[in-house]
Symmetry: C3
Subunit: 477 residues, 3 copies
């Protein structure tokens, strides 16, 4: 294939992001904050996170634009032993505030990691007292906690118990394979986030990742799953076609034992340790049994059991590395402008009066087309209108570029407040929220009212090339 300039821009951008991510994770972090429980005589386990904006590959030539820790979604995975001391360092190399909520810590965390401004680094030291499978996620505070988690900043942290799990006792040996699975959802905009209508659902960062790349196992293998549903919205039921879980432990705590079930039920941030022996040879399909909202959108994978399967001791939960996507066909940008097949331009006729919601740190609809004389209303449907900056759900809509002579800027709107502007000058205008500048929308004021002439007559055809152009344009800095 030929690569045009726009494509090269995107490829280069993602490639640079990957390199930067690697470099950043290798950086020694300066501890800027204090901790609560550092023990002198103990080895300290370090966990270093770098918060950033990113464009990621999420499978099948679909790209995702959001936030990450260390350049992947889910972010880095860490396993420590119960009783160990953990030192977390979070560096913010982004242009907006980030933070961290670490569910493995029963300790004050918000004071240390709650709101890390661009360019700053923060640390927390805590004791890993409680065994289990935990979520961590971005938590700048307030409204930003929910928005950034949806935007891609989450991962798995495991505290291995001092106790021995039951199947390990039964068999007298350690697991043959440890499979760490983070189930997570991707949204195309804030309205869908509010309604729980996920665009994709994934195990470990890619739709149908383990269908494309099945997990090898052998009959009789003792598998221990570390399963975490990070949501951020849906309730899952993790199941294997052909399998009944021998032992399940809610939260991964060995005291919370149940046995012999076809499924485990997990709301957002619920987790389980699951133990199972592969009962035979052939494929075993792992699936969230919520078939329409989850499995059919990507939350399905395969364990391929064969007597001579290669030995893989561990399947980790990190998402795909940022890497060049040469031929993207769709771009998902919950806060910004995704490709037009997702964030479809909505064309209004003369006399129609569009409402644009500010919701979940997005404008919906993101792209509108109106006649001269049209009055457009922005209304803030985000509810958390306290605090400021990334911590608030207040929004405005401020024009930042345009080829016409219409300039507009709404005031900062609290929840349920609205503002109208009447467009008179033809042109295409792009606007952002000045508080959350990654929020982007466009208004096109078309020249006349000839409604049949939206575009040149088209012959039949695949739309792939057009989509690429759109994706590349929207991903350009």
């Amino acid at each position: 294939m030929t690569v045009n300039n726009g494509q090269q821009r995107l490829i280069v951008r993602i490639a640079v992001a990957a390199v930067v991510a690697v470099l950043l994770t290798l950086t020694a972090c300066n501890a800027a904050g204090g901790g609560s429980a550092e023990a002198a005589g103990q080895s300290v386990r370090e966990f270093n996170l770098v918060a950033r904006s990113d464009v990621l590959n999420v499978g099948d030539r679909v790209t995702f634009e959001g936030f990450t820790f260390n350049g992947t979604m889910p972010g880095p995975q860490k396993v420590v032993q119960q009783g160990e001391t953990v030192k977390i360092t979070v560096e913010n190399v982004d242009s907006v505030a980030h933070g961290l909520s670490m569910h493995a810590a029963n300790a004050q965390t918000s004071n240390y990691l709650g709101n890390i401004e661009p360019g700053e680094t923060a640390t927390l030291t805590f004791e890993a007292e409680y065994p289990g499978v935990y979520m961590y996620h971005c938590a700048p505070g307030g409204h930003g906690i929910m928005a950034h988690t949806m935007g891609g900043q989450f991962g798995m942290f495991v505290v291995e118990p001092s106790q021995t799990y039951q199947l390990e006792q039964d068999l007298g040996r350690e697991p043959d394979i440890k499979i760490y699975i983070v189930q997570h959802e991707v949204y195309k905009d804030g309205r869908d986030f509010f309604d729980g209508n996920a665009q994709y659902v994934m195990f470990n960062g890619e739709t149908f990742r383990y269908v494309k790349d099945p997990i090898p196992a052998r009959p009789g293998d003792y598998i221990r799953f570390y399963y975490l549903n990070v949501g951020p919205n849906l309730t899952s039921t993790f199941h294997a076609v052909g399998g009944i879980w021998d032992y399940i432990y809610y939260g991964g705590n060995p005291n919370n034992l149940m046995q012999g079930t076809q499924s485990v039920v997990s709301g957002p941030t619920d987790s389980y340790v699951i133990e199972w022996q592969v009962p035979g040879e052939g494929p075993f399909t792992l699936v969230s049994h919520a078939f329409g909202t989850q499995a059919i959108k990507g939350a399905l994978g395969i364990i391929q059991s064969e007597p001579d399967a290669p030995r893989v001791a561990e399947v980790r939960s990190e998402g795909l590395s940022s890497s060049p996507v040469e031929d993207p066909k769709r771009h998902v940008a919950p806060f910004g402008l995704g490709s037009e097949d997702l964030d479809k331009p909505v064309r209004y006729r003369p006399g129609e009066e569009p409402y644009i919601e500010m919701v979940g740190n997005s404008f919906t609809p993101k792209r509108i087309e109106v006649a001269p004389g049209t009055t457009v209303t922005w209304i803030n449907e985000d509810v958390f209108d306290m605090l400021e900056g990334e911590l608030t759900g207040k929004h405005d809509a401020v024009m930042v570029s345009g080829d016409g002579d219409d300039h507009f800027a709404t005031p900062l709107l609290d929840h349920a407040e609205s503002y109208t502007h009447t467009f008179t000058e033809p042109g295409t205008y792009e606007y952002i929220c000045s508080i959350h500048p990654y929020m982007r929308g466009t208004v096109t004021v078309y020249e006349d009212t000839d409604l049949t002439a939206r575009s040149d007559p088209q012959s039949d055809g695949l739309q792939a090339d057009g989509l690429q152009e759109t994706i590349l344009a929207s991903a350009a800095p």
Copy 2:
């Protein structure tokens, strides 16, 4: 600010409602029905409920129009000891039937409290045999059970166990703070109710209630949560940022113990007792970890831990009292007419043929605007079309007022039945369901087909004043 006539009407109305609510709860109730298990030698715990229509403050200058028990949403909270005898009295001062389902009773309840007509009072006496955290809710029967519960009639009833919870055993002392939390959803119409798309989600009656008014605690405090998700639709995962629950008890039953988890998963009417010690100083954020469908819409609060925090032994689950909202900016009315920013008028062009669903005891869309000659179809999407009155989901659409000459009334429609009417006379018509007269809708037949002239040209501006007018008009009796 200046208060206009419309605003005064609303303020007065809510203030009167508050006074009436207080008076009613003080009224001695005449037991009209029999009970199943009244024990002579025992003290009887009385629980008095008054069912009514109400307009409530749900936070951030948003009002809600629905049904309540005793003037709050959630309604009154009651705590009794296992083994006690409870006498419930429900008085219906409303103009439609109500009833009660009390989950703490393992006893026939429908015969006693199932369908209480306007002006009637009913009682039930039962033994509180099963310890736990229970939901109660309106239950006139059939279709009305679901509609009235969504409409605001629910609350928490706790049966304290004879056994001692584990952390109380561990520490040898009672909790420092008991925090009772009812998580609940608010819907703007029946379609959203059917689809599970909540407008707001709350802890104890107000969005972000405990962000505005944090719960004070001290480091080391032993907190016992009584957490109840009344739904009516969504599954929650209750979590504290910086906290791992020491002990959790499904349903609040001390025998259903699990430990050391980051969350508890709760479908509608699921509940937990949760025990935890505050591990430090600073803010701890309580949240339903379903971030998009729940937390970001209001289900988030704060425990503020400080060494010298004021002592609050109990945080109760009742919602805000009906009190004057001086400057409302939004009005939510799932069955009636909310403010126009929520229940947006939908304008149809000549030739378009609107469908109006009867669904969840609402008309959706609630407000339509059509050209003369337009045929409108009402279709009943409520499924339960047996029984009568508040117990049925049968509906009609009957004009009750209008400034034009078009009169219409559909017959009573069963599920999936529809009826059409062709509008010819310009004017604005309001209609109701004669079976559920709180269901309201409007049809505006506009004068001509000049589609560009919906309103006068507008200059830019905030819409707050306009919204207020709308709210006040819609809330007027």
Copy 3:
């Protein structure tokens, strides 16, 4: 009533289907595949399933067009004892591939039952080692697993434990009544399936089945529920008005005991055994306490307790038999063309450019009306675009009939690929997906642009007759 030709066609079709279903289940099946664990000296329990296309009665004169096992939805129920050997035979008498996932088997199943072509029969033999309440469902593989399960192919399989459940130990006697309940959802199209917006939710195949036909019981009766939520999407909380569950067992495994709860929470494929004694005389309402998404749509029934109630030892989970529906008022066809009150024709004006999603093996919107010169875009929103045939989510749109001169056929589209066609010739065109030929849609190109003349002026009236004609036409072979 008079029955017209169209009605007779439907009645005859359903009646024939019923007879065929009965005959097929009586057919001795030739075991075509091998098994994993057949034990010579044991009695073998046979479980015979016939996969087919069907039109079913789902209550209140609503018909459903999908797939079944043995002509009912849920399909046949089977109860075996722990330790027994089970031989499953699946015969495919349909024109598309089917398969089976049997959750009661901890054994390789996909190799034996995973993809059964039309006309073929397959078998699997397994040991019922794990006690519990299990789901089975169609599983041809890949994308088809989710689509066919939504389409109606599922049921309950119970493995009774060697251990004795607790209430049976407490009372020293077996249950008076065993009530088997499958809760399941019906969708009108694939978009609703993806969004989790069920059209109906049912206990055992009919909306409000046990309101119309209450389950008789007597005060003091020991009831054991076998409750299975097959979803395919929603999380339920099963509850009885007036009841607190004595004992609940997650998955039905007697080791997973909890007690004294108002509810059990179940994601898709979660199940419980629940034990309870009827505490009195009168009605007890069984309900999923997710009131808006489930109960109000049909997931509600009644146990009617009377001292002299007739003795019913067992309530089974199979759905209604295919039987003539004489006067259907609505037709639900998730993949095909339902009645127009559900799958409403969407009329586009000149200049508007429709998008038709291929999603969940349906076209949405299913029926569109466009002006000559309109460019229509089909876009594939199904994500699983690997494999082939029923196993893939690839789709095309191929015209199969029409009274105009416009012929169109898209190429096979991968996920997120789209294709456009500009319609110029008036007429009504029906098209299918050539891979999943039960997917159906229509495009009507109207004659001119007179937008006010969609239909003749109508007088007021009920639309029942019109709906019937539509249903009958759409259900015709």
